[in-house]
Symmetry: C2
Subunit: 592 residues, 2 copies
């Protein structure tokens, strides 16, 4: 038997194939002995097929079959038989058939794995799963995620290729830049004391490609950030990096919407409606307290400043006087919560910097709660109206500095939505967040900085504001948000030198600063730069959402831990002394 | 005029469009003033269109047009007109038309570039071109190479996707391994004294993916080697990395041939014949002196040991006695070369370690040359017969250690082929080189080593030789060679633990050595490894050949110099002190 040529994968056979001679290869998933009969579940990444070794039918290989153990790799030849009445397994794609084995070859034995592959419900520690990642993948769910990731990448490439984008790979050994997050550095052996940096994004390279006339570029680019890992980050990640010339957001947005339409259609068979909703940054902050609004549910933030500013509830009234704000959420049907249940929300908002949380319950004919007595009936009525509150709703109030209440109410809104099952997990709610501010103001340093980077184009309607009130000027930056995750962002870039000079002036950058911070790139912009813009999409996050995975780790073949190490290969690791000295470096005294 | 919406690219318009109103954007390639008329060649990456500003036809924008300079970026609207009789330019795709401009907008002015874009025949220094790479790309030929590279990558991905391969990205921050070339290291900030290494190839990861059951994997993977750069290498390069399970070379080879068939058909419209020729490593060395034979021309190496071993030419006879060899080339028509011209080959072979080069000219009825007198007529006749020599041919002889004469004659053969125009540059000659030796022997250390790596499967016909004569055992390794370049290589891997143990024993590796050198990977192999094999193709080299480029630098957007630096961004570069100390490192005393 030619041991390596399969006729079918293990998930493929159906009863229509009965009587056929087939060859399968795979892993022994389970073995069961039933009075002489041996059943083997044979597994590959497509599924499981039941094999049967029957000594009475003269199976020559029955004796060998008794030796088989879990995870051994075998190759078999046999005849497809329909299972007997009542023995069909409707939970298995191949549950109507089994293979009567006529030839068996053991390709590879297996040591007992550190956790059972057959049962992926086993409570295996996260550490052990990462150390034996290759076995965890063999269990199935991760393999399916990786397959979906591959499909997504293929869909992206097919679509962008059709749209005349060229995929161009840019250097990974690149230059350290003083802006942005911390770089991973790569010491140079040939240039003592010099370092490469791994790119945080190919931003400069893609703009250079536009200057070079390449017109439409993309790349699924590996990017790197040596951050202190919070939440669900990886030190290396992939970004779908896109840039195009002679275009503006009105061209780019439909193109990116088409990209998502293609991805969803290719990998999920879903048709998503386009164009996507657009929301200004100001509206997103006002209504959701965040620039990444999750639109799968309502419960919007509502401003109550005007209603409460003259109330006798001095906490609210004083907050408004001091330049703060009062905003509230209306929890539908939340009035059934006990005081104790409601007060469980307080630590959450306190951890985000709020002093506390006020609340009211709306009854059929009255409004109750600790702060009810401070408000006049018309104030209470106005609140209910503004919040569209109905009997049995719960109103939650936050007061204080606007940025703090936005942050706290955003978290609270998502927390309650999850708690009360308000989120339809099957929905995909895309939204463009647009009209970001061009600048921000650092209260500590009392300096104005770029909200994105100094090459972001100002909004054409706000050019005059650059002179009069630059902090109110909007930019042509945009984010794309899906289900509350920012899955991408970009901007129109400045192509005009006069505008660029203006922005540098506003940022109070001297020529020396400019040279030091942006180096050769500013020179490159001077040699005839086309109007251009782009976007970068977070591939890992997108695939995570499409897989319904809980972490981006689950969509990366060999991820790092939250402390940036690979438990499987044990990287990073010590190296030989000469490897360090070859790089003209030595370890700090205390590390030797 | 909406300044960014083009109706056409600059290389698209033909006379069929006459009368149409069009909008184009691009760079001012050239401006010519002819008595009031202004002609502008407008360029983008697709080509050039001639614009005409005629003051008599009342072109409002004529005055602005006089200000235009080379490389300014403009957008125009105008009417397509057929050029007058005799004014057609057959050398331009758009040479039958011109645009009578009715509206013009200057999008971006341009400083004078350091070299002219319009004339790519200018002698610009390599350094200047690399420093202003984005302008060199704008000239056209490099842009075309990058477009072809993108097409090749797309063709590869489409084909492998159809063949059920999944693209899986593997870590770039990975582990330093003691084997192989020098690693680029990345110091870890979180783990003092620990380092990541950039991967030289994803070899271990792809084998792990087979162990994990992913079945068919590919990746166009960035790889890194900190080598002292010789010839045409880059510190980072891309490799088409492929691995498959439950298969053998008889499955893999046709699949890879299909891949090349697809690439050539997609990007060149060429149908290449398959299957490719296969040649054993032994035959390649014997007949071409190299395992990368260029089969676009003949002039094979011919062994003359038996003919010359008893001759009176003691140099040859003694060489054979001492275990050396004598091989020769027959240069068709080469007898017209003068002694002086022939002797020009001597420095070439001497630089490769040979003592010299002997030669004979074949005449109509005699054989002449410095060494002719040492041979009997029947010896000369036998040489001519063996070499298929005809009158007017030149015979070149090398004697000495076999490895040296192979190396020298390989170089000489290619040198003469180029010199005498024997190479049909339009031909694509693919060949599989197979049956590599499994082991090699290091004369210095007197130790046996793996020719490829210790996971390479032995040839099934040579299993017995592992015990009796391991150095004569062949492996299941294979290279794919195109026009004398090794464009890829791979092997069947060992999946059977008994075989793996045998190989480790032959290499005299202790368990400690194994753990240290191959670490967790050997453990992974124990948990049920399917038969698997793979190949890695050098993308840069392949694209270089397909572009007819002279260097792999010409097919990489932003390459490094031969000294591993990027002249454009000036990487590597010094970094801030704290960046180094954050990594628990300091510079060597003399570098501070």
């Amino acid at each position: 038997m030619p041991k390596r040529s399969r006729t079918h994968m293990c998930g493929e056979l159906r009863k229509e194939s009965r009587g056929q001679t087939v060859r399968l290869s795979g892993w022994v998933h389970k073995r069961r002995d039933h009075g002489g009969l041996i059943f083997i579940d044979l597994r590959d990444k497509t599924g499981i097929t039941q094999l049967i070794f029957d000594p009475e039918r003269g199976s020559t290989f029955h004796d060998i079959a008794t030796k088989l153990r879990s995870e051994w790799v075998i190759s078999i030849e046999g005849t497809v038989a329909e299972r007997k009445e009542g023995m069909h397994n409707p939970n298995m794609a191949t549950g109507a058939i089994e293979i009567e084995v006529t030839a068996l070859e053991i390709l590879s034995e297996a040591a007992t794995p550190p956790f059972a592959i057959a049962d992926d419900k086993t409570e295996t520690s996260e550490e052990l799963k990462l150390k034996y990642r290759y076995l965890d993948i063999r269990r199935g769910p991760l393999a399916n995620n990786l397959a979906l990731r591959s499909q997504v990448m293929m869909a992206i490439r097919r679509y962008l290729d059709e749209q005349q984008f060229l995929e161009i790979t840019t250097p990974i050994l690149s230059k350290s830049t003083p802006e942005g997050a911390r770089d991973y550095l790569v010491p140079s052996r040939l240039y003592p004391g010099h370092f490469f940096a791994l790119p945080q994004s190919p931003q400069i390279f893609k703009q250079l490609l536009m200057i070079s006339g390449m017109d439409r570029y993309f790349q699924i680019a590996p990017c790197f950030r040596d951050e202190d890992m919070r939440a669900d980050r990886q030190p290396e990640f992939h970004q779908v990096d896109i840039e195009m010339s002679f275009a503006d957001p009105d061209t780019l947005m439909p193109l990116i919407e088409g990209l998502f339409k293609t991805i969803l259609s290719d990998v999920k068979g879903i048709t998503i409606p386009t164009p996507f909703r657009q929301m200004s940054h100001a509206e997103a902050m006002e209504t959701y307290g965040t620039d990444r609004p999750d639109l799968r549910f309502g419960m919007e933030l509502v401003r109550l400043d005007d209603i409460v500013k003259d109330s006798s509830f001095s906490l609210f009234a004083d907050t408004i006087k001091e330049g703060g704000a009062v905003k509230a959420l209306c929890v539908k049907g939340g009035a059934t919560l006990s005081r104790r249940e409601i007060e469980k929300y307080i630590p959450l908002v306190k951890s985000l910097g709020l002093g506390g949380l006020a609340w009211l319950k709306v009854g059929e004919s009255d409004v109750t709660g600790p702060i009810a007595k401070f408000f006049k009936p018309d104030e209470l009525a106005a609140m209910q109206k503004t919040l569209s509150a109905e009997p049995n709703d719960l109103l939650l109030f936050a007061s204080g500095k606007e940025s703090l209440i936005n942050q706290a109410l955003d978290h609270l809104r998502r927390h309650i939505a999850k708690e009360r099952n308000l989120i339809d997990e099957s929905r995909l709610e895309f939204v463009w967040v647009v009209d970001f501010p061009l600048f921000n103001f650092d209260n500590e340093t009392q300096e104005m900085g770029s909200e994105h980077h100094p090459f972001t184009a100002p909004h054409p309607d706000d050019i005059d504001k650059l002179d009069t009130d630059p902090l109110s000027a909007r930019s042509l930056a945009y984010d794309i948000v899906l289900n509350g995750y920012e899955i991408g962002g970009g901007s129109q870039r400045i192509h005009n030198q006069a505008t660029q000079r203006k922005i540098f002036e506003l940022l109070e950058l001297t020529q020396e600063d400019i040279d030091e911070k942006f180096g050769f790139f500013v020179e490159a912009l001077s040699y005839g730069t086309p109007p251009h813009l782009g976007i970068a999409l977070g591939l890992d996050r997108l695939v995570m959402i499409l897989c319904g995975a809980a972490s981006i780790r689950d969509v990366i073949a060999f991820p790092k831990t939250a402390r940036a190490s690979d438990l499987m290969s044990e990287a990073p690791s010590p190296v030989m002394k000469h490897q360090i000295s070859d790089l003209h470096l030595e370890l700090h005294q205390d590390e030797k």
